[in-house]
Subunit: 200 residues, 3 copies
């Protein structure tokens, strides 16, 4: 298993935990909790695959994603009291995950012959739309539309990747761009960055 | 018309009636009521077809589904006072319908070369996601996420089908698995089964 | 650029402005406002393309749609106080837009070999589902399900187009059908037409 696979699976797990916890708060039953974990973890990549016409969607060819998502349920059940203490680790894995998902989504879109602009958009979709679908299904206004710099960290990471790819190997470009996502997201929280849109 | 076709069409009609009635309660207009009947009846199969890459989606090649859904509108308009008296028959047709939709969805997914695990998931999606989309569009938290054993009856039916297929013909396996769905769902209601998920 | 392209782009812009304004009212941030503009402008055509299996979805092959949608953001930011004064022009462009989107969606569906009934449905989906997705994401009950004759104007336009196509050239049929949409929508507002659905 390469490092990329490992980060991919870890990111999937952290996303699934976020969905399972959201379902728990809404008092969903076991099925609802599973579906919310599933859409949070793989909803973004699924939407990307549907839009670019790469079907059956990616996770259907690698069952390990399902096992990872299922395993998030007992994890949350038994460890819920401790998850809040793991918040910092989770935040880090989540941020590494969105960085990686952005780059993998971007690469997959380029690989089917679409333009860099569309690839950047699909990279962001891969990273953030799982959370959007989670919020729609649990009847919240999508969080990311209101107070997260999250999507812009993905945008920055995607642009850094496209730029550095011209100069260094894709492996190094990937590391640099994921680091950019992490730095931007941490700075955004420390400095209370946000992007209000208040026309006159 | 085979028995399978007949059950398929009857299930579609019962699902459409459920959508039309939901739209009526929300005071939707004629267009809204039609859309809600449509997504309830064919939304699950549509999502399955999109995910597995079987497009144009199935109902586009057989217009009878549209006619069945349209016919649910005058049915509800003229017979609304009597529908509550038909509740038992509707519950039975609905349960037979979800059992059949699960098996047909499972079979279609296997037929495009995907694995049994994915096929079971897509069987459940076929049977229950029409109702999820109905609830999202009418701005309810999806019912199935909170208090229905419905999805687990489909899961059980799918597993029974896969298991019995190894021993008997697919026709007999289908009958056995649909009967399992009916029995589980009736028992679930009589015995007040549910699947709460309450971590510490 | 043909007249059809020009109307297409103008309609896209007007739809995007409607999404951006909806996002502004909900106090979404810059990312949320962009996504809402995007789904309103191209969500209907995207859903049509996914359903009929024409992927990558259309706008991915013509980046001008993205530029048009992005340009709606500064437009709304700087001109918001004046937009209410432009209401009449906007209503006209919006109505021409839905007329055109209906016909283009219908034609695209016929071109992949689907039946006229499905083509009429997909024409309507192209014209109205961007607004439905906008409303779901901003957690409103879709407006069109409750008090707009909008979808029926599209239906009428689609039928007029199919009918006149048998007698005149497609260019003339397109003009006649778009005019029908405009006339029906204006009449609907002046005469307070609606389509309530109130079973006993």
């Amino acid at each position: 298993m390469s490092l990329i696979n490992f980060i991919d699976y870890l990111g999937t797990f952290v996303f699934a935990v976020s969905g399972v916890l959201a379902g728990t708060e809404k008092k969903f039953d076991l099925f609802g909790v599973f579906i919310l974990g599933l859409v949070t973890a793989i909803g973004g990549g699924t939407l990307r695959d549907i839009l670019i016409g790469s079907t059956p969607v990616g996770w259907m060819n690698d069952e390990i994603y399902i096992y990872i998502i299922v395993s998030a349920i007992p994890f949350c059940y038994f460890l819920k009291p401790y998850i809040s203490k793991l918040k910092r680790s989770f935040f880090l894995f989540d941020t590494i995950g969105i960085g990686l998902f952005t780059i993998l989504g971007l690469e997959k879109t380029l690989s089917v012959g679409l333009s860099p602009l569309i690839a950047v958009m699909m990279g962001i979709v891969s990273a953030v739309f799982g959370g959007v679908i989670r919020d729609v299904l649990s009847r919240d206004v999508p969080l990311i539309f209101r107070k997260e710099i999250y999507a812009f960290a993905c945008l920055a990471g995607a642009l850094v990747y496209l730029g550095t790819c011209l100069m260094v190997s894709t492996d190094i470009a990937m590391i640099i761009s994921i680091l950019s996502v992490i730095v931007i997201r941490i700075l955004a929280i420390k400095k209370h960055w946000n992007l209000p849109f208040n026309p006159a």
